[in-house]
């Protein structure tokens, strides 16, 4: 019953923020943003072909079904476990963080892309194929242009999610702002935690706006 007032008291410890940590925190937030950007970019590059393979309207069932199963497996592994494995495999730092983010995103992005590709107009596909185009050309010119707005929307949305995911990766030594979250929280330096939260909120807000603008621009 006494947890309410205690919780409120806890929040008072966040103020006033200790601005001396700003430079360090902003620096590590940029690292986290880079992890998210690189991880998302890698995931998009891998997910596009996987999305084509998983789309039942352009790939035969013996390709699309196993691909979907594989994507399901990827999605079922929690990010933190992927990150721990990546850190064990390639060592500490932002690189394993980027790998973990990319791996984890591929599961969801490929599935979304595949579902978007499946809504494509079949008539347009057979019209492009009917010009003598190869399978790959048909995907590139008949299918892809139809799906661009949604593909972009999913990708920027995933970038936003990846930044938040990457923020906790430092907890397992995979670089970025997470290291300081762990350091300050465990060290009871709540004034610095406040700075951390403000910076994370600022970046997420900017990303949110950015994704809004990009989605409006690509139509």
């Amino acid at each position: 019953m006494s947890s309410g007032p205690r919780f409120a008291e806890f929040f008072t410890r966040l103020v006033p923020p200790d601005w001396s940590a700003t430079q360090l925190v902003v620096h590590s937030a940029i690292e986290t943003l880079m992890i998210a950007l690189a991880g998302t970019a890698l995931a998009v590059i891998v997910s596009l072909p996987l999305g084509f393979l998983a789309a039942s309207n352009v790939s035969p069932p013996w390709v699309s079904q196993p691909t979907r199963l594989f994507l399901g497996l990827i999605r079922s592994i929690p990010l933190i476990i992927v990150a721990l494995l990546c850190v064990s495999a390639v060592g500490l730092g932002p690189f394993p963080g980027m790998l973990a983010i990319a791996f984890h995103s591929v599961g969801m992005l490929s599935k979304f892309y595949a579902e978007e590709f499946e809504t494509a107009d079949e008539g347009i596909l057979s019209a492009v194929q009917g010009t003598g185009a190869t399978w790959a050309q048909t995907l590139r010119y008949g299918l892809f242009p139809q799906s661009v707005p949604q593909v972009v929307a999913f990708s920027v949305y995933r970038l936003e999610m990846n930044f938040r995911d990457a923020a906790v990766l430092g907890l397992v030594g995979a670089g970025g702002i997470g290291y300081y979250i762990q350091l300050y929280v465990r060290g009871f330096q709540y004034e610095k935690v406040a700075v951390l939260l403000l910076v994370i909120i600022a970046v997420v807000t900017v990303l949110d706006q950015l994704s809004f603008w990009v989605r409006r621009w690509v139509r």
Partner: protein, 290 residues
């Protein structure tokens, strides 16, 4: 008539040869043709009621459909043989203009026209959006030819119906095909635009000496532009000859099949379990075959 010398196809053989064709959809015989040959340079217009087999015929020639029995030869090959090495070549050399235009709405007019050259450009370079400069130039020229100069950079979704129709024609011309199939190409346009679009198509095709096969609902337009008319009713051939010879009686025959068919369908719907009667078993229609 101009004969295209760059073509590897020997023009002494027909462009299209159909033999002993039956196309069944479930228990319905959609198409039943003993023989149909189309020679190079012909402008064949196919008339028939809805469901007479016009679309089935053009899908058969394009290779989107395999006959239940019979042999389809287009430009000396089987258009439906996907595993064949010539498949892409035959696809490229037979252009198709669909009833719904099937353009990519988000792409520009010139972007859609350039799709016509996909069959002959490098498959790898084109994946990165690269087309040879001469293809760009050709696409611009064709857009001008169909009366769309200056509209190449406009997205197709911003064009009117008549303009989209011209983009579709331009894409087919870009393909440098030997045979152009048009399945009710003007049914989405109002009568005046329809006539203009058809005139444009026939002019462009005549300039190139390409073989043309058009499915049409309007007999008067077909008579005006065709070098040969084919009438279909209930999947069977009921007229095949010059446009001048197509009389009111023939028109009646082509469209009479429709009335009988709909009357019979109604009978079937009444609950009597009759198999759907087809042209093959229809004595009147059987007699008229050549």
């Amino acid at each position: 008539m101009i004969v295209r010398l760059d073509s590897t196809f020997v023009h002494s053989q027909p462009v299209v040869r159909l033999e002993g064709i039956h196309v069944l959809f479930g228990r319905t015989l959609a198409l039943d043709l003993e023989t149909l040959e189309i020679e190079a340079g012909e402008r064949v217009f196919i008339l028939g009621h809805s469901g007479s087999g016009k679309t089935t015929l053009s899908r058969l020639i394009k290779g989107r459909l395999k006959p239940s029995t019979g042999d389809v030869q287009v430009l000396g090959g089987d258009p439906a043989a996907r595993e064949s090495r010539d498949h892409r070549t035959i696809q490229r050399r037979v252009a198709m203009i669909d009833q719904e235009f099937h353009l990519v709405p988000r792409l520009t007019a010139v972007g859609n026209v350039l799709h016509g050259c996909l069959g002959r450009v490098s498959p790898w370079k084109s994946l990165f959006g690269w087309y040879p400069p001469k293809e760009w130039q050709k696409a611009e020229e064709i857009l001008e030819e169909v009366g769309l100069e200056g509209l190449g950079d406009r997205r197709v979704e911003t064009l009117s119906g008549g303009q989209r129709q011209r983009v579709v024609i331009a894409r087919a011309l870009m393909q440098e095909a030997d045979l152009i199939l048009a399945d009710e190409p003007v049914s989405a346009l109002d009568p005046e635009l329809a006539e203009d679009a058809l005139e444009l198509l026939v002019e462009c095709v005549a300039r190139r000496g390409v073989t043309l096969l058009v499915n049409l609902h309007q007999p008067e337009l077909a008579r005006r532009f065709a070098s040969r008319l084919v009438g279909l009713a209930n999947g069977g051939l009921v007229y095949d000859g010059p446009p001048d010879g197509f009389t009111e009686d023939d028109a009646e025959l082509v469209y009479r099949g429709y009335r009988k068919e709909s009357a019979r369908r109604r009978e079937c719907d009444d609950g009597a379990e009759k198999s759907v009667e087809t042209a093959a078993s229809h004595p009147d229609l059987r007699l008229v075959r050549p």
